[in-house]
């Protein structure tokens, strides 16, 4: 099972800290999970111009292909101007309309203010639904006060991330099994 963690911003560090913890948790829970991290800060990604994702080159193609090849994706995103960061939206724009069909997607959201707790609900989930993702409905919302000296200090957050890791793996396995059974029934 391939799981890609996507850090959807090129600035800041909180989302990366949470995502690093998520990846460690995933690997600890299930050694069969092939988990990798894409931090957009480490790549030079072009703006989408509408072409098929196979037709980009360099980092853009690498990131698009990695996401398309994944069985599950955990999206980590901060909140900018009451929405998702532009680099993350650009990733969605690079991919086909039904790119997330048959994929499980989990979300971790970091924010400077508790008032942003519904941003994922209103800004991120509709995009993922349009792109046909199976979402892990509960996401982890992390505030500024949960971090201290570049580490997460709120145990509740650590527990939540652990549950999100578990749910993502269980749902990925479950949907794969459902799909396999359904496709077998077609008899061709």
């Amino acid at each position: 099972m391939k799981i890609v963690g996507l850090v959807g911003t090129i600035v800041g560090h909180k989302t990366r800290i949470a995502m690093d913890y998520m990846l460690t948790t995933l690997r600890e829970k299930d050694p069969n999970v092939d988990a990798s991290l894409i931090d957009l800060a480490e790549y030079n990604i072009r703006f989408s111009d509408g072409r098929n994702y196979l037709e980009y080159d360099g980092d853009t193609q690498f990131v698009a292909k990695s996401l398309m090849d994944a069985d599950a994706i955990i999206i980590g995103t901060p909140v900018f101007q009451a929405s998702i960061p532009a680099p993350l939206k650009n990733i969605f724009d690079l991919l086909p309309v039904n790119a997330f069909q048959d994929k499980i997607i989990g979300m971790i959201v970091t924010a400077g203010s508790p008032k942003h707790y519904l941003i994922a609900e209103q800004q991120l989930k509709p995009i993922l639904a349009y792109m046909k993702a199976q979402m892990v409905q509960s996401y982890v919302f992390i505030e500024e006060k949960d971090f201290y000296q570049k580490a997460m200090i709120n145990e509740d957050i650590l527990f939540r991330i652990s549950r999100l890791a578990e749910d993502t793996v269980v749902l990925t396995k479950t949907y794969a099994a459902i799909r396999e059974e359904q496709e077998k029934a077609y008899g061709f």
Partner: protein
């Protein structure tokens, strides 16, 4: 319809098209050479001609897993190898070509074939060729519209005076040779959406409509939109032919046809488009009202007649060879089309 060399009294025309894809057969993992693939395409056209099929066309795609980038050259060989079948492109990417050169090529193919050539002009579903051939993707729409207009003008006028943004002007230019009967049928390729079809309608040009999957009824809306737009622009829709184009595969039973076709479509699309074809959607292809003509010969006859009743189109063209389909299976399909499917379709659609 005569301008487009279509005689409706003979019933629905049946054609075959290939995109010229060059993919491994997912069942064996083997990929034939480009040389063999091109020879098989020429052979395919010969067999279609012998089977009494009306039309055969070859596509232009400049990307990995394709072999007919120089589709006009392949059509030249087909023109020489065949006798009666009409031949064309499916499609010619006019946006990134010089309409003068395209017209010279196809007028020549028309002379080689004795008046059998047609051009289907499209905009390209993939855009790698813009970089390859030195065009700016930002001009995607304008390139097509301007060059397609020029192509139509060359077809209508022996001496061309023309000025545009993407090509040097033409002053009293003679575009030679002229086709056998003075002009060529030129069609506009449409991807299946009503918005795209309306552009063909407004211009009053024949429409080639590609369709992947789904119920046939949704494509009726596209065809209706085309005819309404043509009417609104002052053209008579009864004089504008419509071709529909899509997946086709016949075997003894529907299950067998689905089993043999699905892996080729699914794996082929993964390689050429980056995403497979949903098995659930494909399974719905067995429904009599699905646009995908997959099934036993009798089921396919019924589907095509149902589509004819719905669309009132003039030509249907079948894509059989996609995704590394072995040539013996392609040949078997051509044989069944020639002996069972075409005679039945003509019987029910020709004017008595």
């Amino acid at each position: 319809m005569r301008k487009y060399r279509i005689d409706s009294s003979k019933g629905l025309e049946f054609g075959i098209y290939t995109l010229g894809d060059h993919l491994p057969d997912p069942v064996t993992g083997e990929r034939i050479s480009a040389e063999q693939r091109i020879h098989e395409i020429i052979e395919y056209a010969k067999l279609a001609d012998q089977a009494g099929i009306d039309f055969f066309s070859v596509g232009e795609s400049h990307q990995d897993y394709f072999a007919t980038q120089a589709h006009a050259v392949v059509l030249g060989a087909i023109a020489q190898a065949t006798k009666k079948i009409k031949i064309g492109s499916s499609s010619t990417i006019i946006s990134t070509s010089d309409p003068v050169r395209v017209y010279e090529n196809f007028a020549t193919i028309d002379l080689i074939s004795g008046g059998r050539a047609e051009i289907i002009a499209g905009r390209a579903s993939r855009i790698g060729l813009f970089d390859l051939l030195g065009y700016n993707l930002r001009d995607y729409e304008e390139l097509f519209e301007e060059k397609f207009d020029l192509l139509l003008k060359i077809n209508e006028e022996e001496i061309v005076n023309w000025k545009g943004n993407f090509r040097a002007p033409l002053t009293n230019a003679k575009i030679l040779p002229r086709p056998k009967n003075g002009s060529l049928p030129i069609w506009r390729a449409v991807g299946g959406t009503a918005a795209s079809a309306m552009k063909a309608g407004y211009a009053g040009v024949p429409m080639f409509m590609a369709h992947l999957g789904g119920p046939a009824a949704i494509f009726k809306r596209t065809i209706d939109a085309y005819r309404e737009s043509a009417q609104a622009s002052g053209f008579n829709p009864a004089e504008l032919p419509v071709t529909t184009a899509g997946f086709f595969y016949t075997a003894e039973s529907t299950q067998q046809a689905l089993r043999e076709l699905y892996p080729r479509i699914n794996e082929g699309m993964k390689k050429t488009n980056g995403q497979g074809f949903s098995k659930q959607l494909f399974a719905q292809g067995a429904d009599p009202h699905s646009i995908i003509n997959v099934g036993s010969p009798q089921q396919i006859i019924e589907k095509i007649l149902y589509q004819y009743e719905l669309f009132g189109h003039q030509r249907y063209i079948a894509q059989i060879d996609f995704g590394g389909m072995p040539f013996d299976k392609v040949m078997k399909n051509v044989e069944v089309i020639g002996t069972e499917i075409v005679p039945a379709i003509k019987k029910y659609t020709a004017k008595k």
